[in-house]
């Protein structure tokens, strides 16, 4: 085991899968010679050559669409979209074609493709570099959405995603790309899609989060525990289909739920979680479900961005309000 950043873990996952399965090809803008603007594909061009690590022209729709074509014809494309803000140039192909191919062919042809992209805040750049629009993708039947929260999960989940027979959108919280190194097993291991992970045990209240918000919740949980509130933190890992069973199990225990996400609140993923828990655990709820999220605005540029994204302080406040209800 070596200590690795999340980007390094991702790089390792890709590299191992490319060695393991010759049908895996990497494609996207600047993924080849440059190794990706975040270096997630560093060294792969040298190791696997230009036919398996493809520097594509600057055109997201045809990147997505040609990946579909490759998957139709037996490859497993691993697409990098440079930032989630640029996904929407290629969204029509994702929504109207990638998501529907298995259905359209009546199960004859599934598309084992993965679309990776950094999402959320974390670089001090201009507009469109901090987006978190997983709710939009999650609403598309036929897709899966994953968002890891630490290096070891990123590796295991990415390997599972590449091996998954259906299209997976893999959201990488760029704020965690290099924030710290953690132990990452060396081998080719999988973390199951659709299963949540209890990252902090607790009995008074449940926090549900994924990707970049998990550390914020862990931080908030510490503060809450200092105040005597035993806080369970559930890392969803998979945003769609999310692990409803694990959420219900925890809420049945705690009776209280706060959902934390980096995306705007309205019509976000938190709403679906709240709606289902409300539907299925109404009588267990000791307080209304709260959502701590970004606001319903364009993600601010760097000067104001920290006022927009959930932080431990806001999560603790929501925990307190829920406890006091």
């Amino acid at each position: 085991m070596a200590r690795k950043t999340m980007v390094q873990a991702i790089n390792e996952a890709i590299s191992l899968k490319m060695q393991d399965d010759s049908t895996v090809v990497v494609m996207g803008e600047d993924v080849g010679v440059d190794g990706g603007v975040f270096r997630a594909t560093d060294g792969l061009f040298e190791a696997f050559g230009a036919e398996r690590v493809i520097d594509m022209p600057l055109a997201e729709s045809s990147i997505m669409g040609s990946a579909i074509g490759m998957a139709i014809n037996g490859l497993k494309p691993l697409v990098e979209i440079q930032f989630m803000g640029f996904l929407y140039q290629g969204f029509d192909q994702l929504l109207n074609n990638a998501a529907r191919w298995r259905h359209r062919t009546l199960g004859q042809v599934g598309l084992p493709m993965v679309v990776r992209m950094p999402y959320g805040a974390g670089v001090r750049a201009v507009e469109h570099h901090s987006e978190s629009t997983e709710a939009i993708i999650a609403h598309v039947p036929g897709l899966k959405v994953i968002a890891p929260s630490n290096p070891a999960d990123a590796k295991g989940l990415l390997i599972s995603a590449i091996e998954d027979p259906d299209p997976v959108v893999f959201l990488e919280p760029k704020r965690l790309y290099r924030i710290k190194k953690e132990e990452v097993p060396e081998d080719l291991y999988r973390i199951p899609i659709g299963k949540a992970n209890v990252v902090n045990d607790g009995t008074d209240i449940t926090l549900v989060a994924w990707g970049g918000m998990v550390p914020v919740c862990l931080d908030a949980a510490k503060h809450a525990e200092n105040q005597g509130i035993s806080t369970e933190v559930l890392d969803l890992r998979t945003v769609s289909p999310f692990d409803l069973e694990a959420i219900i199990k925890s809420v049945e225990k705690t009776g209280r739920l706060v959902i934390v996400h980096e995306a705007p609140r309205s019509f976000g993923v938190g709403a679906e979680i709240a709606a289902l828990v409300g539907e299925r655990c109404l009588l267990h709820l000791l307080a209304p479900i709260k959502r701590v999220t970004s606001y319903d605005i364009v993600p601010p540029l760097l000067k104001l961005e920290n006022y927009n994204y959930p932080n431990a302080e806001r999560v603790v406040r929501a925990i307190q309000q829920t406890m006091e209800f």
Binding site: V25, E51, R52, M56, P57, A59, S61, S62, M64, G65, S66, A67, I68, G69, M70, A71, I72, N73, G74, L75, P77, D92, Q93, N96, N97, R102, H103, R104, T105, L106, G107, Q108, G110, P141, G142, K144, D164, P165, D166, G194, P241, L244, E245
Partner: protein, 351 residues
């Protein structure tokens, strides 16, 4: 028609040169074209009777439809849009399945196993990047064959057209893009659609070969597709082919073309009918008799009628089949929903 249009078989059924096809092949082309029109007419008539969903007719485009698919080989792929049933039939799709598909039964949209045909693409130009990707995979896997991608004149306006052309050329992909320029994209005539006087000349700006042929002349269509398909297979080079043809019917059964186009234009194109001219050629040059014609027409009518009977007697889909192919393994939400549907409609009818 523009003089820069390659043509072999003219409207009078005369050939400027001997087509590079055996008599049997020519008869087969003819049969396929008549079959396509017969199927098409039948589908339209079923639609009028409420026995078929909304449907786009290929009438007038039979030479383009059949001629483009004829030169394809086993390893080749065919990537259609939605106005190419004639080509699908050549590639082995059954008449019955196309009836089912256009009547809203998903099962009819499934292409025969191993046929290397992608499903009907309704998003205009959405199929172009797929074709490029399939060709890319061929190249990466060093597979033989090429990819033929069909599109309409309207599709050339879409971003996906541009991106795919650029990509195909940059990576030298074995893909041939074939535009059926039928003059119209619903109510938009091609001169209001495309700033380039011909569509074929778009090829130049991608450093690609382009060609423009009479799309109602099946010999010309066959020859040009064969030429560029061979080139794609051998040299891994893409191309853009424009087939100049005409949509003789409304855009679909939901459309009324009399609102936007001059009946004189339609009448003019009726004289250029692809089937009439091939029949004349056969009659005049190949001793095709009225008896031959009659026998063939009867056989085709029967084939189509049989397909109708077959299609109308298939077991209906079960409601729970809506869910079956959303994922390889259904997630919990779909399992629940499928269960609900089975409870609700178990054997019964929806209100």
């Amino acid at each position: 028609m523009k003089s820069d249009l390659m043509q072999i078989l003219n409207e009078k059924g005369q050939c400027s040169k001997k087509p590079d096809l055996t008599l049997d092949q020519i008869k087969e082309l003819y049969r396929r074209m008549v079959l396509t029109r017969t199927w098409n007419d039948k589908a339209l008539s079923l639609q009028r009777q409420g026995r078929m969903g909304t449907l786009g007719s290929v009438k007038g485009q039979e030479a383009s439809n059949v001629g483009m698919a004829f030169p394809l080989q086993k390893d080749d792929w065919f990537v259609p849009a939605f106005r190419e049933f004639g080509a699908l039939f050549v590639r082995g799709v059954s008449l019955k399945d196309q009836f089912r598909y256009w009547n809203g039964d998903e099962r009819g949209g499934q292409m025969p196993a191993g046929s290397n045909i992608t499903p009907t693409q309704v998003i205009v130009a959405g199929q172009l990047p797929h074709a490029a990707g399939i060709a890319f995979a061929k190249k990466i896997k060093k597979e033989p064959g090429m990819v033929l991608c069909a599109l309409g004149d309207g599709a050339t306006s879409q971003g996906d057209f541009h991106e795919s052309m650029n990509m195909a050329s940059l990576f030298n992909l074995p893909v041939v893009f074939v535009v059926q320029n039928n003059g119209w994209a619903i109510s938009m005539p091609v001169h209001k659609q495309s700033a380039s006087p011909t569509l074929a000349e778009r090829a130049a700006s991608y450093n690609m070969h382009g060609a423009r042929v009479d799309g109602n002349d099946v010999f010309a269509v066959y020859e040009i597709i064969k030429k560029y398909a061979d080139r794609a297979r051998k040299e891994q080079k893409p191309a853009l082919i424009e087939l100049v043809t005409y949509r003789l019917s409304d855009h679909t059964t939901a459309d009324d073309a009399s609102r936007y186009r001059d009946p004189k234009e339609v009448a003019m194109w009726q004289k250029r009918d692809p089937i009439d001219r091939l029949r004349k050629y056969l009659q005049e040059s190949e001793k095709w008799s009225d008896a031959d014609e009659k026998a063939m027409v009867e056989q085709i009518s029967q084939e189509v009628e049989d397909a109708v009977t077959e299609f109308e007697s298939v077991t209906p889909m079960q409601p729970q089949e809506m869910f079956a192919n959303m994922y390889h393994t259904l997630p919990w939400n779909l399992v629940e929903q499928q269960k609900e549907v089975m409870e609700l409609y178990n054997g019964g009818e929806v209100k």
